[in-house]
């Protein structure tokens, strides 16, 4: 699934990032990058997939039909992975800790610091940061 998500994202990355006018801020990397997280990786992954499904994709509709189809592809793939992560969580295999909770709170704070459309487009534009981090873990 991550491969399919990345290939869909790659085709619209430039289009989405061009819509992000706020260059001085990051949702996923401010103040510290995801890459600094050592423990609770599964928990953060689950929280971030929930975050993208619940909060981000619905606010990313564009006037471009091709872009909308790719966003749908990514969103439905995220939903499929989210379901699997929820099963892990229910089997106590994806437990959270203080570090992961604080990291996710920081990401939410970054997101809620912008108006919803800007925050959603910026989050979508940063998808490769998340995918890189997932593939490295």
């Amino acid at each position: 699934s991550v491969t399919k998500i990345r290939s869909s994202f790659t085709t619209i990355k430039a289009n989405i990032q061009a819509r992000d006018s706020i260059r001085t801020l990051s949702i996923l990397s401010h103040p510290h990058s995801l890459h600094k997280v050592k423990v609770g990786r599964c928990c953060i992954t689950r929280q971030l997939f929930n975050f993208y499904v619940d909060k981000v994709f619905k606010h990313c509709k564009t006037e471009d039909s091709f872009v909308n189809r790719k966003i749908s592809s990514i969103a439905n793939s995220f939903l499929s992975v989210k379901r699997k992560l929820e099963q892990c969580h229910e089997q106590n295999k994806c437990l959270c800790g203080q570090e992961s909770d604080e990291k996710f709170k920081q990401i939410l704070a970054n997101y809620e610091g912008l108006n919803v459309t800007s925050a959603a487009i910026k989050s979508l534009g940063e998808l490769d940061i998340l995918l890189d981090w997932i593939e490295k873990s």
């Binding site: 699934s1 399919k4 039909s65 091709f66 749908s72 592809s73 439905n76 939903l79 499929s80």
Partner: protein
């Protein structure tokens, strides 16, 4: 006259080897060209995006009664699909696929396969079934089925080297396709055997 245009009927999905086609019966209007438009809706759209529908531009106002939806059915979730007809300014209601479609139900066929004895080397050529496919190849010396060996082929290159053969022995091969995205395999292909005899291959 301006009778209401009937919605397309008999809407169904033909899905084989992770290629998915929506088909429907033509709407007949004497002396007129009927055009069709297709939209899809994933589980995400139903549950998180106000049940919105997404148009497929390659299947917008087409005259064919088939649409390749492979590119848009790109996650292992339940999809809804619909199609409507247009004739001039007249437009039908949407006809919707009965029940959802999930690509996990695609039918998988065994891969086409060609076994080659190149001198003492046992090689196999596999059909390129697309990026979603991997293959499990089983091979054994005839009569020694219990010592069957397996090779997983993640990407179809031109030819796969399986083994170095002993002269005068028959070697047999069969293969199945595997799709990781839906965690399903095809049935095995027919078994093919070859023999090495003094460096020249012989089909059996």
């Amino acid at each position: 006259g301006d009778a209401l245009l009937p919605a397309p009927q008999n809407i169904s999905i033909l899905s084989t080897n992770m290629k998915h086609f929506l088909t429907w019966s033509p709407v007949i209007v004497q002396g007129e060209t009927v055009r069709y438009t297709v939209e899809f809706q994933g589980e995400y759209e139903r549950e998180y995006a106000n049940e919105s529908w997404i148009p497929i531009c390659e299947c917008s106002l087409i005259t064919a009664t088939m649409c390749n939806v492979t590119e848009d059915i790109s996650a292992t979730v339940a999809y809804n699909l619909r199609v409507r007809a247009d004739v001039g300014a007249r437009r039908s209601e949407w006809g919707t696929l009965k029940g959802f479609f999930n690509r996990i139900t695609t039918s998988l066929t065994p891969p086409l396969m060609k076994v080659i004895a190149d001198g003492y080397h046992l090689l196999v050529e596999l059909e390129d079934m697309g990026p979603a496919f991997q293959f499990c190849v089983l091979y054994w010396k005839k009569g020694q089925e219990s010592r069957m060996q397996q090779k997983v082929v993640k990407q179809v290159s031109s030819v796969v080297h399986l083994d170095t053969m002993e002269a005068g022995s028959d070697y047999c091969v069969k293969a199945q396709a595997y799709v990781e995205a839906i965690n399903r395999s095809s049935s095995f292909s027919q078994t093919q055997c070859v023999r090495v005899q003094g460096g020249t291959s012989m089909w059996l």
